[in-house]
């Protein structure tokens, strides 16, 4: 392998297929395609795995689109339609962004992730082989403080039960005020138990059924892996752990300090001890699962529809589309692009396929093939291969490729998957045809399993165990072997044990993902003789794909991360209004529409008595019915008490002026006589003219410019006079 770097790491750049990464300091000169860091321009190889080859949009550029109609009234200023707050821009694939939006009075939280890469400041559980007799004494820490320029020593890792870093700014929001939580991927779900266990949490959580299941398994796995620490360190002390003391924090290397406190030094509050299994259970009970492309309506107003985003088996699962009754807005969640307005679903599915050029899927395939060839080389040399990648889709594809390659080179090397949830995850992937891509679905129709792993397990080529200490594992364990095992942070789970075992073997190979700080990740395992291959996979939309995406969606507004402002220079910006958002700033999105639509039942319309205004060609009529908001529509039904009452109701609203001469004439015809008298009795009625009625009974009509008062001694006379007045005035 050419280009073996430090710790024998294979440089990803040595292979063109693997150099797609934009995660380096900047795009290299040999990279004509600008892929920027936050877009996480890596591409999913899961074209074959995914349902409908649909690419995913920038994880950091949610698109807010709405259908806009020209404002009807020029008087009113555009009102704020929606408020958007970015709580976290996220990090890598495993740490999706987190936003909160306020729309039509509802607060919607988009994803609730955990920053698991920050686990790397903790030391994995020491073993006998590893535990250093020269544990740093407390005073030696002080010396190191001065020298933090030099490479960090593994002894500086925090030796304590790890805490987990949540999205800090989320804690500033009042949890009971969140109405809806939309989860777009299993990764976006990992922080959810922290939220759902809060007293007063009452939001509806919408998750696709597959995300829910995988997310639950990932969380349970996390809890289980974390338990290992508890067994080692004993029960947690109450209150803050020691490492969180200010002095201890001060003494941390600057890199660690930044991880703990964040760039602005305010993120300490985001650290929490991990939730319990009961918290996970409670969280799952509050989740509402969605089927593929199922539409749900929240409170009659918000329409939420999950469509496949085409990212990874984990993330492709959901990208809720949000439509609001008023503005038909549509939010495509992170890592999704197939958001749709009401009408455009079909077009989009078609065009999403267009978007994904085959060359890119080929590229991804090539990448996997390259990884596979490295694995085979390593195994041939007698070394074992360790794959701690946490992407289910990649694992499934690699499994198939590896087994094919092994067969082709007639090698008999066992493949192990060691994870507490592996068995269930693998079983689960074979029962979700609805969420897979066309090619995989075809397998259903020809009666084969979707993925090869079922067959591999049957043929005893693939072995699945819940833990390294599983009794049967030792019986059949043989090396070299290929092992998949969590966790990618290299701090938790079975991977720690395996890595310690093989780190000294120069023939062995560790496959890591780019985007993970490899130096830090491998720190506890130094010195390493083992080879390391870092490879990047797609985890978002490519920047150059944004434009075609916008073309399909035709959004009126696009919200884009501020950091990417320079990188987007779109020619036809007049068709979409771009807004740029920053972390922890609330961005108001204006509303352009001032009126909404009402649907009136036809039988109700037939009851309306329309009155034509003489001057203009306008007809007006009173409308009364039962109002309802269903599925994003305002509707007026004919109510129960409708039929009889609407017929003979007197007009309630009058306009125009009352001509006294006419009034007297009309009254006369009714047999009512009276005389006009200029009002002089009262101080406040200077302009009032009064008609005194003396036949058939006493009554009084007080007429002013804009008002008339009828006072009669009995009901029938009063209503007769009203009839006369009504006949002269215009009314409704």
């Amino acid at each position: 392998m050419a280009g073996a770097g430090a710790y024998g790491r294979k440089s990803a750049h040595s292979q063109p297929n693997c150099s797609k990464s934009g995660l380096g300091p900047g795009p290299g000169p040999d990279q004509p395609i600008i892929t920027c860091r936050l877009l996480r321009s890596l591409f999913t190889p899961l074209i074959q795995t995914l349902r409908g080859p649909i690419l995913s949009s920038s994880s950091t550029s949610p698109l807010i689109q709405r259908r806009v109609e020209r404002p009807r009234s020029t008087r009113s200023l555009p009102s704020v339609y929606m408020k958007f707050t970015c709580l976290s821009k996220g990090g890598n694939f495993y740490f999706p962004p987190c936003h909160i939006i306020t729309v039509s009075g509802f607060r919607i939280l988009l994803d609730c992730p955990l920053d698991l890469s920050s686990l790397m400041i903790f030391s994995p559980i020491p073993t006998h082989a590893f535990s250093n007799p020269e544990l740093p004494s407390p005073d030696s820490v002080d010396q190191k403080r001065q020298k933090h320029e030099r490479p960090i020593d593994s002894s500086e890792l925090i030796r304590a039960q790890p805490w987990f870093k949540t999205v800090t700014s989320l804690h500033l929001w009042n949890v009971p005020f969140i109405d809806v939580v939309l989860i777009s991927s299993p990764m976006g779900m990992l922080g959810l138990p922290f939220l759902s266990r809060v007293n007063g949490f009452r939001a509806k959580i919408y998750v696709t059924e597959v995300t829910a299941r995988i997310g639950q398994l990932l969380m349970e796995d996390l809890v289980l892996m974390n338990k290992e620490f508890r067994q080692f360190y004993g029960c947690e002390e109450s209150g803050l752990p020691q490492w969180m003391n200010w002095e201890k924090l001060e003494s941390l290397p600057s890199l660690f300090r930044e991880i703990v406190l964040g760039e602005d030094g305010v993120e300490l509050g985001g650290w929490m001890p991990l939730y319990s299994a009961d918290d996970v259970k409670g969280c799952m009970q509050k989740v509402h699962t969605l089927k593929y492309a199922q539409e749900v309506c929240y409170n009659g107003t918000l329409i939420i529809k999950a469509v496949s985003s085409g990212l990874e088996i984990g993330t492709y699962l959901s990208s809720p589309v949000l439509e609001d009754v008023k503005d038909n807005s549509c939010y495509s969640a992170p890592t999704s692009q197939k958001s749709s307005t009401l009408s455009a679903d079909n077009d989009q599915e078609a065009s999403a396929e267009l978007l994904l050029s085959t060359s890119e899927s080929l590229e991804e395939m090539e990448k996997l093939n390259f990884i596979c060839s490295c694995i085979i080389d390593s195994v041939k040399a007698g070394g074992s291969v360790l794959i701690p990648i946490g992407r289910l889709g990649i694992i499934l594809q690699l499994l198939e490729l590896i087994s094919l390659s092994l067969e082709a080179s007639s090698l008999k090397v066992p493949i192990f998957i060691i994870s507490s949830v592996a068995e269930e995850l693998l079983a689960f992937t074979n029962i979700i045809p609805e969420w897979l891509c066309k090619q995989r679905q075809e397998k259903l129709f020809s009666g084969e399993p979707f993925f090869a792993h079922t067959q591999l397990i049957k043929e005893k080529k693939l072995h699945v165990f819940p833990a390294v200490h599983s009794p049967n594992l030792l019986k059949i364990w043989q090396e070299p072997c290929i092992a998949f095992s969590p966790h990618w942070s290299l701090r938790l789970g079975p991977v720690v044990h395996l890595l310690r075992r093989w780190s000294g073997d120069e023939n062995s190979l560790l496959i890591m993902e780019e985007g993970v700080d490899a130096d830090l990740a491998l720190l506890p395992f130094k010195p390493m003789a083992m080879k390391v291959l870092q490879c990047s996979f797609l985890s978002g939309i490519k920047l150059q794909k944004v434009q075609p995406l916008l073309k399909i969606l035709q959004p009126k507004f696009v919200l884009f991360p501020e950091d990417l402002r320079q990188l987007v220079s779109y020619s036809d910006t007049n068709s979409h209004a771009f807004f740029y958002y920053c972390e922890n700033e609330t961005l108001p999105v204006p509303s352009l529409k001032n009126s909404s639509e009402l649907e009136i039942a036809a039988d109700l319309v037939s009851l309306i008595h329309c009155r034509r205004l003489t001057a203009e060609s306008i007809g007006i009529g009173r409308l009364k019915g039962d109002f309802s908001v269903t599925h994003g529509k305002h509707q007026l039904h004919s109510g129960s008490e409708q039929a009889d009452s609407s017929q003979s109701r007197p007009p309630l609203l009058h306009w125009g002026s009352l001509d006294l001469e006419r009034l007297l004439a009309v009254l006369e015809k009714m047999g009512i006589r009276g005389s006009v008298e200029q009002g002089n009795s009262d101080t406040d009625s200077e302009n009032a003219r009064v008609v005194h009625v003396y036949e058939p009974n006493k009554a009084l009509i007080e007429v002013r410019e804009n008002s008339t008062i009828i006072s009669a001694s009995n009901e029938s006379l009063s209503s007769l006079i009203f009839e006369a007045v009504d006949g002269i005035l215009s009314g409704l």
């Binding site: 059924e209 969605l290 492309a293 199922q294 539409e295 079909n346 269930e424 074979n430 029962i431 045809p433 609805e434 679905q441 259903l444 129709f445 009666g447 001032n594 009126s595 909404s596 639509e597 009402l598 009136i600 036809a602 319309v605 309306i608 329309c610 306008i618 007809g619 007006i620 009173r622 409308l623 009364k624 039962d626 109002f627 269903t630 305002h634 007026l636 007197p650 007009p651 309630l652 609203l653 009058h654 306009w655 125009g656 009795s681 009974n697 009084l700 007080e702 804009n706 008002s707 008339t708 008062i709 009828i710 006072s711 009669a712 001694s713 009063s718 209503s719 009203f722 005035l729 409704l732």
Partner: protein
């Protein structure tokens, strides 16, 4: 606007389900089945009624298939490959996966065993299935700009669905076959509460109400167990899909529980292959089966193996599932011939057997001999056990569904005529919903809801959304003796929130209609408001009080001083409140009921005081004003006031 429903099959009969529904110009074919009872042209729906010119692609916008049974999907390859329909076809994933098996099985029986000319080839089936678009439950599919369809769980067989279709404002549901009670492997039908113009429902069991299945299941297991314990062989003739899996789950569990080692066989590779599909489609089964998929897939039968022809005459007990059901031919007949003569053996017939099949003969009488054809006669000495497991809903289930959905019209299909007539009567009398049960090739036309679209203002929406609370105090008067009047108010407060939207519709030439709130109208049409009010100055007697506190008031003028104004008002309030309930409000200076405004009149001469002559009784005057909306109530209050004596407490 209207919905037109042309019933091409399953009208007043069971078989060849096919209904062509036109909604707002869109034409959907629901199911495309064949009739198993006929071998001539009657076996397929009469497609010529859809389009005279046989141009089906323009005549039909899409086909929706509810499940894989042949009476629902059987004519599909014929319609697409022979008649030439090439538009979209929708079915659920399991239906798409399992239909070709059913079709191919049928084709084989027709061609290979009966030697008939085939109506469609295997190639046709494959080509036809390629055109099918699979959908998930609750997935909202936009077929074209106007037509939207959605599948709901029907529970009848794996992948069975009810379909919702909507064009513009008109919406309908076609149920296909469904089951309202969960069984061994499937859940109960499930649907959202939808606004429907039309519901087309099956009515196989239009008049029967079924009891629990568990007793029948126990009976079945007992019979099978007894037979194998005595060394006999059990033959269960079934079709490959559906019933076979359900009974297998039942037997497999029972075998496990009782620790039986007697082999259970599946006759053909077909059923084994079908189990493979069931395993992958486990998410379409019921909750209990689903929960265990990871540790043990319920369709991974532990005691089941495939059958080899040589085992037919092998000694020892066994259980055999053989296709086809009803012993209508094929392998199940072959085995039946050999096993029927022995008394030790058992034949279990699950489900419905068509007239003319051996299964039917076995269940209708107790024949000892069955003539297979002119030459062959089988003597039947084995035991016969009939199992009436039916995955159709019963009459109660149909009524429940109709009531739940409350559509404007119901059409019954897939049932027997007299039973349908009685169910129609029940739906119309009990639920007040119009109901039809057309015969084949009849068309039913029903009106559909139509919505008129209008723009509306925010003020109108807001006013309509605002809760319109009315608090009504109903005072219970029975406890009034013991306590004084104020504290006795053990009134029950009733809160009403009737949201009736009132607005004004404005129609202008060549403009979209607009609905606004009343207050916005005048601004829109540029007119000034003219207030029309009523006024009445009402005297209320204070006679008795005058006598007791006489000195406090200016007797001659019949007028109260300002300081007493409020106390009079309060007195009036208390009086009116007891008569009118909680609607009246006291604002200190005046009382108010809706637009009616009552205040103490201090004027010597009030223009609204119409009563003539000097007051005989001392009285306080209250000026009342109101607008036209409350005319009736106002006069009612006035009449109360005029007959009131404020001094009587």
């Amino acid at each position: 606007m209207a919905i037109e429903c042309l019933v091409l099959g399953a009208g007043q009969e069971v078989g060849k389900s096919c209904a062509v529904v036109t909604i707002n110009g869109k034409r959907i074919m629901f199911d495309c089945g064949m009739h198993m009872g006929y071998l001539d042209h009657r076996r397929f729906p009469d497609f010529s009624l859809i389009s005279k010119s046989a141009d089906f692609n323009t005549a039909i916008d899409c086909i929706v298939i509810t499940h894989f049974h042949l009476d629902h999907v059987g004519a599909l390859p014929y319609f697409t490959e022979v008649c030439g329909y090439s538009g979209p076809i929708y079915m659920t994933y399991p239906t798409k996966a399992l239909s070709p098996l059913m079709l191919e099985d049928y084709r084989k029986v027709m061609v290979d065993r009966r030697g008939e000319q085939e109506l469609f080839s295997n190639d046709d089936i494959m080509k036809c299935m390629k055109k099918v678009i699979a959908v998930d439950l609750k997935q909202t599919v936009q077929v074209d700009k106007d037509l939207q369809i959605r599948a709901y769980y029907a529970g009848h067989v794996l992948g069975a669905a009810m379909f919702y279709a909507k064009v513009g404002d008109a919406a309908m549901v076609y149920t296909g076959d469904y089951n309202m009670t969960p069984d061994r492997h499937l859940g109960a039908a499930q649907i959202d509460r939808l606004q429907l113009d039309l519901l087309i429902t099956e009515s196989t069991y239009a008049t029967t109400v079924r009891d629990s299945k568990y007793a029948r299941e126990r009976e079945f297991l007992k019979a099978v167990h007894k037979c194998v314990a005595d060394g006999g062989k059990v033959l269960i003739p079934t079709f490959a899909l559906g019933r076979a899996q359900e009974l297998c789950i039942l037997l497999d569990n029972y075998w496990e529980r009782m620790n039986l080692k007697v082999p259970i066989y599946f006759s053909a590779g077909l059923t084994i292959q079908a189990n493979m599909y069931y395993k992958m489609l486990i998410s379409w089964t019921n909750q209990r089966v689903k929960e265990t998929y990871a540790t043990h897939n319920a369709f991974d039968f532990k005691n089941v193996r495939s059958f080899d022809r040589s085992l037919i005459n092998a000694p020892g007990p066994c259980v055999l599932f053989a296709t086809p059901g009803m012993i209508s031919g094929g392998f199940s007949l072959e085995v039946f011939k050999l096993w029927a003569p022995s008394e030790m053996n058992l034949v279990t017939l699950p489900g419905y057997c068509l007239a003319g099949t051996i299964g039917h003969k076995l269940t209708t009488g107790k024949p000892t001999k069955i003539d297979l054809d002119k030459d062959i006669q089988i003597s039947v000495r084995c035991q016969i056990h009939q199992l009436s497991f039916s995955p159709h809903t019963d009459a109660k289930g149909i009524m429940d569904l109709v009531k739940f959905l409350s559509p404007k019209h119901v059409i019954l299909v897939h049932g027997e005529k007299p039973k349908m007539a009685s169910l129609k009567g029940k739906i119309e009398s009990d639920l007040g919903i119009q109901c039809y049960y057309p015969a084949n090739n009849d068309t039913v036309c029903i009106p559909s809801t139509c919505w008129l679209k209008a723009d509306t203002s925010k003020t109108f929406i807001r006013s309509s959304l605002n809760p319109n609370f009315k608090f009504v105090k109903t005072i219970s008067e029975d406890k009034s003796n013991l306590v004084s009047k104020e504290t006795e108010a053990t009134s029950v407060l009733q809160v009403h929130d009737e949201r009736v939207a009132e607005g004004i519709l404005i129609v202008e030439k060549s403009k979209k209609a607009k609905v606004v709130h009343q207050n916005e109208l005048l601004l829109m049409i540029g007119k000034d408001k003219h207030d029309v009010q009523f006024a009445y100055c009402c005297p209320v007697q204070i006679g008795n009080l005058e006598r007791t506190k006489g000195m406090d008031f200016a007797l001659s003028k019949n007028v109260v001083s300002t300081s007493d104004e409020c106390s009079w008002l309060h007195l009036l309030f208390a009086k009116l409140a007891t008569k009118l309930g909680g609607n009246i409000q006291d604002f200190g200076q005046h009382l108010q009921v809706d637009s009616i405004h009552i205040s103490v009149c201090l004027k010597d001469i009030c223009p609204y005081r119409t009563t003539d002559g000097p007051q005989k009784e001392p009285a306080v005057f209250f000026c009342c004003t109101w607008s036209v909306a409350d005319v009736n109530l106002a006069w009612e209050i006035i009449s109360i006031m005029e007959n009131l004596d404020l001094s009587i407490i």
